[in-house]
């Protein structure tokens, strides 16, 4: 019986240690080839003509001049006359030409006329209080949204019965919904819903208010000793991947497509391209060795990937490189939804949180924005939550590292921090006091809070908000906590041991820069008992066994588990072949440092090469899977909690916030590679500092265009802006035995809240909305209440 469980610490040479990433040398020398870097002979350069208007209807498209230009090899009108465009930057025409210069000239020669329609791009304003719950017929999109907003099933059914539908759902549509997991009660409500006419002309950007209640919030607020109130929010931000979205597609023959695409989802792209291109998924090969950032925005082929294939087809199969330019990337290739909320919190005399009341709104573009999971982490006994989706012409939302969590975290932790201030309590003490509300991870959070407090010097440096300090530089501390799942995704791995000793691993996964390659090799090496350098790893190709998309912190768990199972099985098969030569039973053998030997013996073993020679003529190939209920234990797990603290200085004469120090304490189960795991957390802190201080998509209210579709006024933190960063993992046997858990998302959740709370602590007043730019900080300081608490402060 094979032992799949993770090896004990004494048995590990690699797992849990700090190992330099194996693709480091090709990256630092510029040899790593990204999608953007493929320059095959005969390459055509793709170019998009995009709509400059936030909302418009295409009236006419004249491509005649462009088509005639020598060097233009393919051209496609993507959205012809009559099409409605919902955001600036959406493509209208795509073309491919022999050089970038020709492509650019051709694009300029295309004349497009638009009928400009009214738009909404600014979402920061609080929606009117009296928004009525949508009353027109329910659309398919409404239903999907209600599910997204966790509207109770009874209410969905009620809406269908009362509001009806504009067109009857067909049985095949209903079957499809059932396939998505829509419960029978809703399916029958959809089937039975009356058909109603949609009321004309009542288009409001506000929609689908979700209302949820738990316990008796009214009573709790009445009985409260203190009620604190506040407004909190964060704007739309872009993913700003350094490598823009795009692909290089070529038809290697009329029936077969090779797509090199910048993607987080190598195994999942072909199926998404098959239908629009009308070819079997098996005829599409997807390849990618390196990706220049995704952060949640690169799971599909996108229209751009499909267009690159279509243009290639039109050009006789020649490779077409279609990468978004920076402007389009910033405008249209992804946005993290905004979220704003007015929150009231009730506390009793001892400082226990008793009730939560929030009225939130959000946009993620044309379909609005769902409600973040409020209140976050803390399960407040009595709650009322109302949510309004704001439909805007700001470009489509995409998952952004830990979808919805940074928003929920800021709103909740800032509101709680304000409640502590209102009570006159140290927030560390206040959070500890209420830690039981976090549920099963309460003990862990409490411990992490103590560790983080120690690392940041909370006791020495914290002061109440109202303390008077001299000078214009005010220092403050803030804290936050967060959670995430992170169970390993579905992953399959083929591991081959060749008779000459060579070992190959093939897996359709991808390395986003998180160190996936290195982790897989570490697991395989420890499982086989040979050095990492002896193993060849092949990833990034859809011809290899399917492995899930890299999102939601699921990759490390998935690939390490499938690799472990494959390697253990392959090793045991090898040992079975070698046992007779060592005059022993397979179960009595072990492989240590590349020597196959009887357990515990130090002499008389076979070298790896000698052992593999016993395999026979044919190699051993096994497939490892995750999950695999036949090969327990689980190896991966879900659910982490982390604590972060920030130490900031605020210049009250300029409103500038500087990060002095940030501390991240994180549990993560069994750490495979300490080095790349720490890098993930450092990176998350820096990304968090960036969205806390700098990032926002600035939309022009009049033209509806993004005013900063660049990297100059869409600011990213530089090397000097991040302060001292301290990362501490919760380690030890307790953590190890949980198995492997993903780490990509959790540490990026808390920085917004921790930094916002630190600024509030420093200047004595809440800056309601991120990013904490000088205009917002100075406006907050200008509030009459601010002056009262910051005497000796501003000019």
């Amino acid at each position: 019986m094979s032992q799949y469980s993770w090896p004990e610490e004494s048995q590990r040479k690699y797992i849990g240690k700090s190992v330099s990433r194996v693709d480091g040398p090709v990256k630092v020398t510029g040899r790593a080839k990204y999608t953007q870097d493929f320059n095959k002979k005969g390459l055509l350069y793709g170019k998009l003509v995009t709509c400059p208007h936030a909302h418009a209807r295409v009236v006419s498209v004249d491509v005649s001049a462009a088509e005639k230009m020598p060097g233009v090899k393919a051209l496609k009108v993507v959205q012809g006359p009559g099409k409605e465009i919902h955001w600036a930057g959406d493509e209208v025409v795509a073309l491919a030409a022999v050089s970038e210069q020709v492509a650019e000239d051709a694009a300029r020669a295309i004349a497009i006329q638009y009928e400009v329609l009214p738009h909404v791009v600014v979402d920061e304003t609080e929606p009117p209080k009296d928004i009525k719950v949508a009353s027109g017929p329910v659309t398919a999109e409404d239903i999907e949204d209600m599910f997204g907003n966790q509207v109770p099933l009874e209410e969905i059914a009620k809406a269908l019965a009362e509001r009806g539908v504009s067109t009857k759902f067909t049985e095949s549509q209903l079957k499809e919904y059932k396939g998505y997991g829509v419960p029978d009660s809703i399916i029958s409500a959809m089937r039975d819903a009356p058909v109603r006419e949609a009321a004309a002309g009542s288009k409001s950007p506000y929609k689908r208010t979700a209302t949820q209640q738990e316990g008796d919030p009214d009573a709790a607020f009445q009985q409260a000793a203190t009620v604190s109130e506040g407004l909190y929010g964060m704007p739309l931000i872009a993913h700003c991947c350094l490598e823009s979205h795009g692909a290089v597609s070529e038809w290697t023959d009329p029936g077969n497509l090779l797509v090199r695409i910048s993607t987080q989802n190598v195994s999942g792209i072909a199926a998404q391209m098959a239908e629009p291109l009308k070819v079997p998924a098996s005829s599409i090969r997807v390849e990618q060795q390196h990706i220049g950032g995704g952060f949640g925005s690169k799971f599909g082929p996108d229209s751009w990937g499909i267009l690159s294939a279509e243009l290639s087809k039109l050009a006789g199969g020649a490779p077409v490189k279609l990468m978004l330019d920076r402007r389009t990337e910033q405008q249209a290739a992804g946005a993290r939804p905004s979220a704003y909320a007015r929150v009231r919190i009730a506390c009793d005399r001892q400082g226990n949180v008793t009730a939560w009341d929030s009225s939130s709104w959000a946009t993620g573009g044309p379909t609005g924005g769902g409600m973040p999971p409020l209140p976050y982490v803390f399960k407040v006994p009595a709650q009322r939550k109302v949510h309004t989706a704001v439909l805007t012409n700001t470009g489509p939302a995409r998952a952004w590292r830990a979808p919805n969590h940074p928003q929920a975290c800021l709103i909740t932790m800032a509101a709680l921090d304000d409640a502590a201030a209102k009570l006159g309590m140290d927030p560390l003490e206040f959070f500890q006091k209420n830690i039981q509300l976090t549920g099963p991870r309460a003990k862990l959070y409490a411990e992490e809070l103590n560790i983080a407090a120690e690392l940041i010097g909370w006791k020495q440096n914290w002061h109440p908000r109202t303390r008077l300090t001299q000078g214009h530089i005010k220092r403050g501390l803030g804290l936050s906590l967060h959670t995430w799942g992170g169970r390993g995704h579905e992953s399959h791995c083929d591991l081959t041991i060749h008779p000459d000793g060579a070992v190959d691993i093939k897996m359709g996964t991808q390395d986003l820069g998180t160190g996936t390659r290195t982790a897989v090799l570490m697991v395989a090496a420890d499982s086989l008992g040979i050095p990492m350098q002896q193993i060849n790893l092949y990833i990034g190709d859809s011809r290899y066994p399917m492995s899930g998309g890299s999102g939601g912190s699921t990759t490390i768990g998935g690939v390490s588990a499938s690799t472990r199972r494959a390697a253990v099985d392959a090793r045991d098969q090898l040992l079975a072949k070698v046992a007779p030569a060592l005059k022993s039973e397979p179960a009595n053998l072990e492989i240590v440092d590349g020597v196959v030997r009887v357990k515990g013996s130090t002499a008389g073993g076979l070298s790896w090469k000698q052992a593999c020679a016993k395999i026979g003529a044919m190699p051993i190939t096994v497939r490892g899977n995750n999950p695999d209920k036949t090969k327990l234990p689980d190896l991966t797990n879900s659910g982490v909690g982390g604590v972060q603290m920030a130490d900031v200085s605020v210049d009250t004469e300029t409103g500038i916030v500087k990060i002095n120090k940030m501390v991240a304490v994180q549990d993560v189960g069994l750490v495979i590679n300490e080095k790349t795991a720490a890098s993930q957390v450092y990176g998350a802190l820096i990304m968090g500092i960036t969205y806390s201080l700098f990032e926002e998509k600035v939309m022009d209210p009049v033209t509806g265009r993004m005013l900063n579709p660049n990297m100059e006024f869409y600011r990213l933190a530089g090397l000097a802006d991040t302060g001292e960063l301290v990362v501490r993992f919760m380690r030890g046997p307790e953590q190890d035995k949980r198995g492997v858990i993903g780490l990509g998302e959790p540490p990026v959740v808390s920085p917004g809240a921790a930094i916002s709370n630190a600024v509030a602590n420093a200047i004595g007043v809440r800056v309601p909305s991120l990013p904490l730019t000088p205009d917002r900080v100075l406006a907050a300081l200008d509030q009459p209440t601010a002056n009262a608490t910051t005497a000796g402060g501003a000019l």
């Binding site: 022009d700 265009r705 530089g718």
Partner: protein
């Protein structure tokens, strides 16, 4: 970028001869860091680029009479490292160090810095330097003006003058030498900048077929200071900057020049502030009073009120820097 012709003149006469009489005919290429970005964004589309980097020896920095003469082709990086500049013009040295990034400073020239175009996001997005909506109303006033002018902002121009170096040079009383079809001419840098009244005008006193050849900075006994307020630690456009040059009599200010950057369509000379300071010693209180005087006429366009506060801090800190109270 649109296609263009490219020529490399060997003299300033050739350079001027290769330049057209209208702005859309040609453009001067020196470091190119600003010009190429403008061309990529199709904000400008000159049909010919005249690369002036070989037009003669304009790469020297040397004392000539009562001036330090800086060739227009000296890079920002070389100027920042020039010991003469560091010794005689510490505020200029500092402003150069603070400007942009090493990569930019290694190619951008001082002449190009003085002639760079505004960073106004309407302008850079191709909506014009004085952008208007269909009804002829200013997009800046109706839209997002958080980075726009708080002084000299009665319109139609609301952008801010981008150079961080020009306020310092103006404070030092610098002049620029310009070469055109009619030969060389000299103009005080403060007069070089002007507020355009239409899209066809430029923000400086330069004809399309003229080139800046030298910057002349008088060797005067002044105490100078510089301060810029940036959100990022480095490589970021300031929200406000201020350069001051003080002629002292012991500890008393005899005469002050106070020039603000990033607050108006031109480098803004704060005469009132200078007057407020005359006859006083520089301390926290007098510096603050000068700052208040400098911004007394400032007004918000709706989203940029904070810039008034920020600019006051810049003035105060530049003055304190000049007086030797180093401000972080």
């Amino acid at each position: 970028m649109r296609p263009f012709e490219y020529a490399t003149p060997r003299s300033r006469e050739q350079a001027v001869g290769l330049l057209g009489r209208n702005w859309n005919e040609s453009a001067v290429l020196a470091g190119g860091t600003d010009l190429l970005a403008l061309m990529k964004d199709d904000v400008v589309a000159p049909k010919r680029l005249v690369n002036i980097k070989q037009m003669g020896n304009y790469r020297d920095v040397k004392v000539e009479g009562n001036d330090l003469r800086i060739g227009a082709l000296v890079t920002m990086g070389d100027l920042a490292e020039n010991p003469e500049v560091a010794k005689r013009f510490p505020a200029l040295h500092e402003a150069l160090w603070e400007a942009a990034s090493p990569q930019i400073r290694n190619v951008a020239t001082i002449g190009g810095n003085l002639c760079q175009r505004p960073r106004c996001w309407y302008f850079r997005n191709g909506m014009g330097l004085m952008p208007k909506d269909a009804g002829g109303q200013s997009l800046v006033l109706k839209g997002d003006n958080r980075y726009h002018a708080v002084l000299g902002n009665d319109g139609p121009a609301y952008f801010v003058s981008p150079s961080t170096v020009s306020p310092v040079l103006i404070a030092y009383g610098a002049r620029v030498r310009i070469f055109g079809a009619g030969g060389p001419r000299e103009v005080a840098l403060e007069k070089f900048y002007r507020v355009p009244q239409s899209e066809n005008e430029r923000e400086f006193d330069l004809q399309p077929n003229e080139v800046v050849t030298d910057v002349l900075v008088p060797l005067a006994d002044v105490r100078a200071g510089y301060y810029e307020v940036r959100q990022k630690e480095a490589f970021d456009w300031p929200m406000a900057s201020c350069a001051v040059a003080l002629r002292m009599n012991g500890n008393t200010v005899q005469e002050a020049r106070i020039v603000l950057g990033q607050v108006a369509p031109v480098p803004w000379i704060a005469t009132e502030a200078a007057q407020a300071l005359a006859g006083k010693s520089v301390d926290e209180q007098s510096a603050m009073a000068a700052a208040n005087a400098a911004l007394a006429a400032a007004k918000s366009l709706g989203h940029n009120k904070y810039k008034i506060t920020v600019a006051k801090a810049a003035v105060k800190r530049a003055l304190l820097n000049a007086a030797g109270h180093k401000q972080a």
